[in-house]
């Protein structure tokens, strides 16, 4: 159990990247996804002071910083591994976003990155909740991001992934606290990895605690590893508006089902 104090997604960013990352040296190395995710973290925490007040930063990504990974692979192929520019290699690391967030406020707190495909965000959420539960942290920033590139899209197209689904990308961050505050929007009561898929009826039977709550299964065709983080953000908004409970069920191409249960305060 933990409380949600804020949520920000790539869809509701209000600060210019130069405001988010005033250090030009940091900024000029950032790829689009790193900027997008860092801006979402900034938005969620309310800025540098909010980041400085965090006790833990937990990020998640299914495929990481793909543009930089592809750039570096392409360089290796073109040059035979000689005279390579280090910047895309450095920036391709999965914990780049978490590290950039820490650098913004020189925050030396716990900094973790989960890369478990469509369960990355849920892994980060679990880590955050356990830290809050154990009392190691009082304010934890958890977030997820994934980037869509033409190469990744094309390779997955060749694998047949887009016959029934559409590709997507995004960045979502949420600020979690152990105790409810005046700003709390909702609470997370459960995060679970399921061993097999569940129907809507099964989700309701197993997870619903009240009759007027909702069960959300993937409602549209968009699929990417951290897609469930955006569903989470949308559900938080609905709970804040008055829906008493939402069971957010997610699958990734019919596999690796997870459940997040959100409740109103």
């Amino acid at each position: 159990m933990c409380y949600i104090e804020a949520v920000a997604t790539h869809l509701n960013l209000t600060h210019d990247i130069k405001e988010v990352v005033p250090d030009a040296t940091l900024r000029r190395r950032m790829s689009r996804i790193v900027k997008m995710a860092t801006a979402a973290a900034f938005e969620c925490t309310g800025g540098v002071q909010g980041i400085a007040a965090l006790d833990a930063i937990v990020t998640a990504t299914g495929l990481g910083c793909l543009t930089d990974s592809e750039r570096f692979l392409e360089q290796i192929h073109r040059t035979g591994g000689q005279m390579l520019n280090p910047t895309p290699f450095i920036q391709s690391t999965f914990n780049t976003v978490g590290a950039q967030i820490a650098l913004l406020a020189k925050n030396r707190c716990y900094n973790m990155t989960y890369v478990h495909r469509s369960r990355s965000f849920e892994s980060a959420l679990t880590d955050a909740m356990l830290q809050l539960k154990e009392g190691d942290a009082r304010r934890v920033l958890a977030g997820a991001f994934d980037e869509n590139t033409p190469t990744q899209h094309h390779i997955m197209e060749r694998m047949g992934f887009w016959r029934k689904a559409e590709d997507g990308e995004g960045a979502v961050f949420t600020l979690l606290t152990a105790e409810a505050t005046a700003n709390s929007m909702a609470r997370v009561s459960r995060v679970e990895f399921l061993s097999s898929p569940l129907s809507e009826q099964q989700c309701r039977e197993r997870y619903a605690t009240c009759s007027d709550g909702q069960v959300w299964r993937s409602l549209d065709k968009t699929v990417y590893p951290c897609r469930s983080a955006l569903r989470f953000a949308e559900a938080v908004e609905e709970v804040r508006k008055g829906v008493p409970e939402i069971v957010v069920y997610n699958e990734y191409f019919g596999k690796e089902p997870t459940v997040i249960v959100l409740q109103c305060l």
């Binding site: 692979l73 280090p86 690391t93 914990n95 890369v115 892994s123 880590d127 990895f193």
Partner: protein, 392 residues
Amino acid sequence: MKIAVSGIGIVSCLGIGMEANRAAISRQESGIVPKSRFLSAPSAFPVGEVPFCNADLALRAGLGERCLYSRTALLGILAVQEALADSGEGKDLRTGLVSGTSVGGMDRTEVFYADYLSDPAHGRLRDVAMHDCAASTLAIARHCGIEGYTTTISTACSSAANAILAAARLIRCGIADRVVAGGTDVLSLFTLGGFGSLMILDKKPCRPFDADRAGLNLGEGAGYIVLQREDTLQKEPYAYFAGGENANDAYHQTASSATGEGCYKAMHDTLRKAGVAASQIDYVNAHGTGTLNNDLSESRALCRLFGDKVPPFSSTKGFTGHTLAAAGGIEAVFSVEALRRGVIYPNLNFFRPMEETGLVPVTESREAPLRYVLSNSLGFGGNCTALLFSKN
């Protein structure tokens, strides 16, 4: 709640399994070779390469030799099999897996990519099917019959150490009874090119903590330990997990701060939380990659924490090379072995202390009754983790 270490498993350039690794180390024999045998393109740098091709690894893991798993998954499976067998059956236990990796299936992806770049219709899809980091973890879990909480961590060179931290938390919070935790990473053109572009690869065998050190040697391997709630043990454990903390250097995307802020904080917070005094630490398995920056930064952190009483310490990377996301797992295995057998593994290729700190690591295998061992893992993004293991 006490968390015990009930099993260990390791694959490195020294060999497959703890026995092979122990035997090589006791002979002071490094596993680092001048040239890779299995990389898809030549490299001018020495490497710590596991001396078996993928087909051999697959056969040894009980898979068909035509198995399509990435090398990352194969090394991971071999180490996890050993660790689980060592830990005991555990039929009624909820067993989880937390695995760290930084390259995932990159060794196969780069083969695919070479063809793909020449023509986007080319490249065998099975070569890129295990690209993402989770793929190796899921293959390990499937093949080793692990059905509990499973996840993957990637924080560069501290990944496996962080996997161990996460595993301990899962046990403390009642999500699992025992968790196999560590990491697996393989040599790839991507990482060789990457560390080469940073100009921190040594053309000679690496010399951790030496005044004339000139960089690291990349290695590959897998190292896992089994953490288990004490009341579920089926055997005498090797050691106990006494604590661990992660901290961020928050200094630079790749370089460590000159004062080792993050490393100091990780070690300091670990001791404080565990209620263990700095004077009780009997051995530190240092990160000690052999780069100018890392070893100075880490040395300064050691001096800050321990003052003029820095305990015996060594980097074992002269034996294994720097195995990136696996390093924290392999070194956790060595730390547990140190406690179990009362022996400190030496630091190879050390001749002269650096002027800035004058620190001298342990250079010969030394027997000593050890109670507390600290293991450091430091990664890109300022990611610093210290793990503390105890005899009792």
